[in-house]
Subunit: 361 residues, 2 copies
């Protein structure tokens, strides 16, 4: 037998910069100018509702005329369906490996554009220009790119980190209030899992200056991702506080009843009650969490929810990856941990409260 051991050295470390502020888009010329190698061509993948920015504001900031690909809004765009058209458009324009993609939109566009950048010519660079609060604090950071399959969300993709993220808070001005509130579910999550002061700063509603809030949220996510980019140590799982039940609620309601952040708010209520039952989270902290969610007009109960369907949809020992259920729970606001064993009566209670509105202070 001829046997060869092949050893590939690790790929280089990846560094990038995130800028958060009102008017951050104006940093685009400088950001592009400092890239090595210089971008050979620029393609914009944009939500079609942002056509005015993609067709006018962005090109004015660019050193050369970009290739613009507009895509429909909404979750169905995040599928394999658009891939052939987008990839062929890039190839027909002869984008080479030194080209760069600008992703202008919310999480759907960011995840799809990042995936396209990850597979076109086996990977080119991309810059995230998130336009929703949720995309700014969540999907634009962390390098998880991909699309949905009919069988489930985010089942296809690559880890492909952005070259830069510019979160321009001016773009949030036109965001519908419901989407803005939904974004706060994730910010509240960051406070619960990692920063009691961040939590307190938004506990009673939205501050007038969002910049430090968003920047701190991104910082928490970026730090956790840096510790466990590819979900190998379990550390990245902490970001899933509220998401175990939240994802199941999205699935059983067909993804059209709730915005992601709204489903996460319901999931946070479940995880919070489980945290009381399992880790001894105080009743006071539970009350503070529910009040914070309510202050941002997020749903806390749904009397129509099919609890049996929800229970069936939760990962169980047989279905979960690696054979274990992992709940992310909190012992006190500002810290989180992974819990692998949950009492089934506790889980039942934590789900059943979703049928009842909480008694807020």
């Amino acid at each position: 037998m001829h046997s060869l051991q092949v050893s590939l050295p690790p790929p280089p470390a990846h560094h990038y910069t995130i800028h958060v502020n009102y008017g951050a888009l104006n940093l685009l010329p400088h950001t592009l100018h400092t890239l090595t190698p210089a971008p050979s061509q620029i393609a914009i993948l944009a939500d079609q509702t942002l056509a005015n920015i993609a067709e006018q504001r962005l090109p004015a900031l660019l050193p050369s005329s970009p290739l613009l690909i507009k895509l429909p809004s909404g979750e169905p765009t995040k599928s394999l369906h658009h891939l052939p058209h987008i990839l062929s458009t890039l190839a027909a324009a002869r984008l080479d490996r030194h080209a760069i993609i600008l992703a202008l939109g919310g999480g759907v566009i960011g995840d799809l554009a990042g995936f396209i950048a990850g597979i076109y010519l086996r990977g080119i660079r991309y810059i995230q220009l998130p336009t929703t609060l949720l995309a700014m604090v969540d999907s634009s950071v962390g390098g998880k790119t991909g699309v949905n399959l009919p069988e489930g969300k985010n089942l296809v993709g690559v880890f492909h980190q952005p070259t830069a993220v510019l979160a321009d808070l001016d773009l949030l001005e036109t965001l519908p209030p419901r989407e803005r509130h939904a974004g706060f579910a994730e910010i509240i999550k960051y406070g619960i899992i990692a920063d009691a002061a961040l939590f307190q700063s938004i506990a009673s509603g939205s501050p007038s200056d969002l910049a430090p809030i968003i920047a701190r949220s991104i910082e928490i996510k970026a730090q956790i991702v840096a510790e466990d980019e590819r979900e190998t140590t379990g550390r990245r799982a902490l970001l899933n506080f509220g998401h175990t039940a939240g994802h199941a609620i999205e699935a059983i309601t067909g993804y059209h009843t709730y915005l992601h952040g709204e489903a996460i708010a319901l999931g946070i209520r479940v995880a919070t009650r489980l945290s009381r039952l399992t880790l001894g989270l105080s009743e006071e902290d539970e009350r503070r969490i529910l009040n914070a969610l309510a202050a941002h007009h997020l749903p806390l109960h749904d009397s129509m929810l099919n609890l049996q369907a929800l229970m069936d949809r939760l990962p169980n020992d047989k279905k979960a990856q690696g054979g274990r259920v992992r709940w992310i729970l909190t012992r006190a606001i500002g810290q989180a941990e992974i819990v692998e064993t949950i009492n089934s009566n506790d889980l039942k209670e934590a789900l059943e409260i979703l049928h009842q509105p909480p008694s807020l202070k």
Copy 2:
């Protein structure tokens, strides 16, 4: 402005084993047994002409019943077309991130299966079970996975290294002679660029024991890839000796006149003459190279070739990535280098010889 510097540590180094021999498939149980974590499920992506191996021999070697996906033979399979079906089949079978894919077939199946493994759940493991000489010595090693677009070959993919490669030479018994000869074009290439002794060992035809020849070819490729996995230093480009013109010949003949290795043989003739004109390769070495190609029944000329179309298809300063043409040339059999400046008269001469059969010894 709130600016964050994000630093991601490098991903871990990747190690894997390549086994080359008659009966190497029998190492599959041991190979799977030693993986950590143990594979949760096994899926086989197979060329449908290998159904007997995929349905009987392989399952008998596996610890659990595999999911089998059969795909049509031929280059059209290596496209985005089959992706939704394959990915949905994996998802419907609930393959998790500890599952593993076995790629059974030639380069088309290996490249496609590696790409599927690279994007399903953002990357799962896969083992290459190459069944053609060309796939054994070329595409199964190196981690370049992907598919073609209508606009060009290999324009979409990821770098995703296999977990193991088992090259079972028994599988070559049924290979049509033409495909076997085509595989030798790449082996001759390895000899020219890196190993004069390897070249000499196959210069007069195919030896009876292919194992050391194939193992040495793979070793050369693996070593060059380890030095430049993602084509950032230029070192990996050395593997493209004969491919600059070869790819152009494939393109202008619509990919159906020549097998890849046959087009590469013609490309090697061009690169060899350019090497004489540019680097002073000896007439004797040129003659040895042409004789070796002829000894393996590979084409050395094509009087019907449209030389103007060929010239137009070659990368030029405007079209080539990074703005430079890179020819891989040889100063003497056993060594190669990158040459960035080619005299246009030399190039014309090197292409025009394709219309004439060489005068062999």
